[in-house]
Amino acid sequence: MTNFLSGYSIQKWLESCPQGYLEDTVYGHEAGEKEPEGLFDNELLREGQIRSTCNLVLGERAALAASSGLVNCAPDYKSKTFLATQTLDEARHVEIFTQRLFDLGVSPADLEDTLNEFGNPHLVKFAEVLLEKVDKGDFVAGVVGQNIVLEGMAFSVFEMLHAGAQEDNPKFAHTLSGTIADERRHVGFGENRIGALIKQYPEKKAECERMQAEMSGHMLATFASAFKEGEASNEEARRLQKEQGKESHAMYHGVDLAQADTAEMEAVLADTVLKEFKTRLGRIGLEYQSPIAA
């Protein structure tokens, strides 16, 4: 069996992504798709969507900074090549979620102010822990933080948002589908590359585990405040559905997102992400640590 690194090439990335599942998309969705009309008639709903999209933009900006920083500290050219493709994936994610803010009525001139207003401070701290490792040129810790912790979180968050958007907002669901496909490659690189490297550098384990505990703490704090802030908007969406006689059942890991309260939704997301961390870290030889309270 040849080394897994032989699979990483720009050509393969071109065939899978731009010439594959992204072919004919416009900012990640099908041409002509629009946000649901009802969003623009209801300020509470529109603000809820702007708030959650701001956090997607901030998360992706952190991923862009981390993956581009990791290119220079990668120990081999195949890893550099993969991280170069990941850098472009992350830049695309920043762009498509920023475009969604514009589609939701945020003007380009107000973009940074909007991100400052709605961005979650815990998410910023989550990113700072990762970027500190990247700035030090620590490839092993950087890839664990970026491709296992950050991408593992993003993978589950996108899947939950995708489940919720499938019926009511095909444009956003299509945008998320492409990002989920990208995340599969990113977590795959994280596991495969670090699974091999951690055997080579066992002395890095304790530091990586400490970072995972810190990042997990900030992640849980992000979820707690994001779900709390989104509560009014969720309630409003349900009220409108009831009023219009619509019945939706968006299932995510056994929870009906259309019926569950925000505490249940937060619990299922946190539980899913932490279980995934535990399993993934165990596979690559790291021991999962309980989150450090932020």
Binding site: M1, F4, G7, Y8, E15, S16, Q19, G20, Y21, A181, R184, R185, V187, G188, F189, E191, N192, G195, A196, K199, H253, T279, R280, R283, I284
Partner: protein, 97 residues
């Protein structure tokens, strides 16, 4: 790649069941490889004898042949190389780092 099954243990004494794969709507790999993968439907999704779940990206890998313990398979969506093992009477894939 002609199949996701990239290597199988030598010296098998019984032939393997062969399968014809059809498209399942999975679009995350180049067109010619799409029939080899499908989305997983969660824990209630029963896998066929020629299928195994990728533990890294949660995509079902499909082969033209029945899969057996010791087979080495490739998951193109996350680019992982996996080894088929048995766990609780079911076939599972483990990452080959």
């Amino acid at each position: 790649m002609n199949d996701t099954l990239i290597n199988q243990p030598a010296g098998e004494d019984r032939p393997r069941q062969m399968y014809v794969l059809e498209e399942t709507g999975f679009k995350e790999v180049p067109k010619k490889f799409r029939r080899f993968y499908r989305k997983w439907g969660g824990p209630s999704d029963t896998l066929a004898p020629n299928e195994v779940l990728c533990p890294v990206c949660k995509i079902v890998i499909r082969s033209l042949q029945e899969l057996r313990v010791g087979d080495k398979v490739y998951c193109m969506p996350c680019m992982s190389r996996l080894i088929v093992q048995e766990e609780g009477g079911r076939l599972v894939a483990r990452v080959n780092y």
